[in-house]
C-alpha cells in the first residue's frame, strides 16, 4: 500500500541492528512483524531456484533435454510436497498461490455438481474463500457461513448441524490469518466424512508452519501459498484427492493434467518444495522460539491499560493479534512504521479504508474496538531484541494517540 507519493528509500534489512536512531525519515532499524502477510524468501530457497532461471530454463512440456530437466525438477518437487503432507504426488496441483488454490477448490467442486447443492464455510475465512463463495451463490449455488464463538473457533456441533444432503463441500481454514486460531480440522473432516461430504481446508497460514497430514486430518483438498512459508511469491499448490473430480478455472494446454494449464513455473515450484522442506525440518524448534517471543510480546503489551488479545488458543506460534481501546489501527501502523516496525491492522491483504475486519466482527467485537486492532506476526528473522524494541516503541505511540482521541477523557 502506497503511503507517500515519494519517500526516502531504506534498503537495508537490519532486524538485528540495535541502533536506536528512529528519526521519521531515516530509519536505521527495520523490524518486520507482518509474517502472516508475506515472508522473505529464504536464501537457501533462492539458491535451489537459481539454476532454473537461466540455465535449466526449459519448458517442462518440451520434448528435449531442456524440457526433461525442467520436468524432472517439477516432478521431484511434486513428490517432495506430497510426502510433506502425506499425499500422493498425483494429488498435488501447482497454482499461482493461495487465492487461486482456494478458487479452484471451491468453484472446481461446486461446478461439477448441481445448482441446488450447498457449500458450507465459515465467516472468518479469507476473502479468497468468502468472495468465491459469494460468487458461487450468484451462479446459483447455496452457501452457508458458519459462525465462530467469541474465541474464534468453529464448533463441531455447528458443522454437524449444517451438514445436509445437499451439502457438497465444507471449507474451513486451518489457521486464521488475522487472529491465528487453529481450527479442529481433524474433527471437522471427520464430521464431513461421516456424512460423505467433501472437506477442503485453506491451510495458507499453516503449511510449512504446522504439521499437516491430510490422511490423519481427514482433508480432501488443501490450499497453500509458497510466499507464506519463506518460499517465492506467485506460486502455490492445491492438494486434491485422486478420486475427486473438479472443473478447471482456466483452459489451455494439458499441464497439471489439464486442471491448471500454463507453462510450469519451474523455479517457483522448485523453491516452494524446498521452502516446505526447510519449514518442516525446522518447525518444532522455530515454533518454540517464536512462541516464547510472542508470549512475551503479548504479556508485556497487555500491560498497557485497555488492551486485549483477539481470539483464543491454540494459535499459530508467531501470531500476536492485539487491540488497544480509543485509538485507530492505521495511525498506530504508520507511527510504528516510522519507527521501523512493520505490523498490520485488520487484514493485511485487503485494507479498504476503515471497514472493520470481518474476522474481528465475527468474534463479536464492537466496531470501534475492531478499529483499534494491531496484529504482530513473528517469523524466522525476529529476535528478542526486536521484541524489546517493539515494547519500547509501542506504549508511547498508544499514549500519544490516546491523548488526541475524543473517546477517552485524558
Amino acid at each position: 500500500m502506497k503511503l507517500l507519493k515519494s519517500t526516502t528509500k531504506n534498503t537495508a534489512v537490519n532486524a538485528g541492528d540495535v541502533t536506536n536512531n528512529t528519526g521519521n525519515y531515516t530509519m536505521t532499524k527495520r523490524v518486520y512483524l507482518d509474517h502472516a502477510a508475506t515472508t522473505p524468501l529464504d536464501k537457501r530457497v533462492l539458491k535451489v531456484m537459481e539454476p532454473y532461471f537461466s540455465e535449466k530454463f526449459g519448458n517442462a512440456a518440451s520434448t528435449h533435454f531442456f524440457g526433461e530437466e525442467a520436468e524432472e525438477a517439477v516432478e521431484k518437487a511434486r513428490e517432495d510436497i506430497a510426502k510433506a503432507i502425506n499425499a500422493k504426488p498425483g494429488e498435488i496441483y501447482f497454482t499461482s498461490g493461495g487465492t487461486e488454490s482456494d478458487n479452484l477448490a471451491l468453484a472446481g467442486i461446486m461446478r461439477t455438481g448441481k445448482k441446488c447443492e450447498q457449500l458450507v464455510t465459515s465467516n472468518i475465512e479469507h476473502h479468497a474463500i468468502i468472495r468465491t463463495a459469494d460468487s458461487l451463490k450468484k451462479e446459483g449455488f447455496e452457501t452457508k457461513f458458519l459462525s465462530v464463538n467469541k474465541k474464534g473457533f468453529i464448533q463441531i456441533e455447528d458443522v454437524e448441524k449444517a451438514l445436509k444432503k445437499k451439502t457438497r463441500l465444507v471449507s474451513v481454514m486451518h489457521a486464521n490469518n488475522e487472529i491465528g486460531t487453529i481450527q479442529p480440522i481433524k474433527e471437522i473432516g471427520e464430521a464431513c466424512h461421516k456424512k460423505e461430504t467433501l472437506f477442503h481446508s485453506d491451510a495458507v497460514q499453516t503449511v510449512g508452519k504446522e504439521k499437516i497430514d491430510v490422511e490423519k486430518m481427514n482433508i480432501d483438498m488443501l490450499s497453500a501459498s509458497a510466499h507464506k512459508f519463506y518460499g517465492p511469491k506467485g506460486v502455490g499448490f492445491l492438494f486434491k484427492r485422486e478420486e475427486i473430480k473438479i472443473e478447471p478455472l482456466m483452459f489451455g494446454g494439458s499441464h497439471e493434467k489439464g486442471l491448471r494449464p500454463s507453462t510450469s513455473n519451474t523455479p517457483g515450484i522448485v523453491g516452494m518444495a524446498k521452502a516446505l522442506k526447510i519449514g518442516i525440518i525446522e518447525m518444532d524448534e522455530e515454533n518454540a522460539r517464536e512462541k516464547k517471543m510472542r508470549d512475551r510480546l503479548v504479556k508485556e503489551s497487555l500491560e498497557i491499560k485497555n488492551s486485549w488479545i483477539n481470539g483464543g488458543f491454540p494459535k499459530i506460534a508467531g501470531c500476536a493479534p492485539l487491540g488497544f481501546d480509543f485509538v485507530e489501527g492505521q495511525s498506530m501502523l504508520l507511527m510504528l512504521s516510522d519507527k521501523g516496525i512493520a505490523a498490520s491492522t485488520g487484514s493485511a491483504c485487503n485494507s479498504e479504508g476503515l471497514l472493520p475486519s470481518h474476522v474481528l466482527t465475527a468474534l463479536g467485537l464492537p466496531r470501534v474496538k475492531c478499529h483499534g486492532s494491531l496484529r504482530f506476526t513473528l517469523g524466522r528473522e525476529n529476535t528478542d531484541t526486536d521484541i524489546d524494541y517493539v515494547l519500547e516503541v509501542l506504549p508511547p505511540i498508544v499514549k500519544k494517540l490516546r491523548e488526541i482521541s475524543p473517546l477517552r477523557g485524558k
Binding site: 500500500m1 502506497k2 503511503l3 507517500l4 507519493k5 515519494s6 521519521n24 480509543f326 485509538v327 485507530e328 492505521q330 495511525s331 504508520l334 516510522d338 479504508g353 476503515l354 472493520p356 464492537p366 466496531r367 470501534v368 478499529h371 491523548e403 488526541i404 482521541s405 475524543p406 473517546l407
Partner: protein
C-alpha cells in the same frame, strides 16, 4: 496514497488535543465508523470582530483524520468566525496537497466539527445574552 504534506501533518499535528476552557465545542462523527472529531475553539474580540484565537481537535481516526483535524485548526486560527465557518473540505484538502477521494470524508468531518463548535459558541452566547 497520501501526499507528503499529509504525512508530515500526521506525524506532527500541531492543532490536535483540547482546550480546557473552550468557548465552543463541536462533536461530530460516529465512532463505530472510526470517524469522530471533537473540535474545541477559543474566541477573542479584536477590532469589534470575533476572531478564533485557538482551535484544537480530538480525533479517533486514521492518518487523514488526524491530518485534516490539525489542518482545519491551522486554517481557522486568526480568522473571523464568519470566515471560519465558510471553510470548505476542499480548502483543507488543498492545504494538504490533496487527499484521496475515499478520504475526503475526513476533511468534511473537520469542516463540520469546526462549524459545530462555532455554532455551539454562538448558542451559548445567545443564551448568556
Amino acid at each position: 496514497m497520501f501526499s507528503k504534506k499529509t504525512m508530515e501533518v500526521f506525524r506532527n499535528p500541531k492543532h490536535v488535543g483540547f482546550i480546557k476552557d473552550a468557548d465552543g465545542i463541536g462533536r461530530v462523527g460516529n465512532p463505530s465508523c472510526g470517524d469522530i472529531m471533537w473540535v474545541y475553539i477559543k474566541v477573542k474580540q479584536k477590532n469589534g470582530k470575533e476572531i478564533l484565537e485557538d482551535v484544537k481537535v480530538k480525533t479517533f481516526g486514521c492518518v487523514a483524520a488526524i491530518a485534516t483535524a490539525s489542518t482545519v485548526g491551522e486554517i481557522a486560527i486568526g480568522k473571523a468566525l464568519d470566515k471560519a465557518i465558510a471553510i470548505t473540505e476542499k480548502d483543507i484538502a488543498k492545504k494538504l496537497g490533496g487527499l484521496p477521494k475515499e478520504k475526503m470524508h475526513c476533511s468534511t468531518l473537520s469542516k463540520k466539527g469546526l462549524k459545530a463548535a462555532i455554532e455551539d459558541y454562538r448558542n451559548k452566547k445567545e443564551k448568556a445574552d
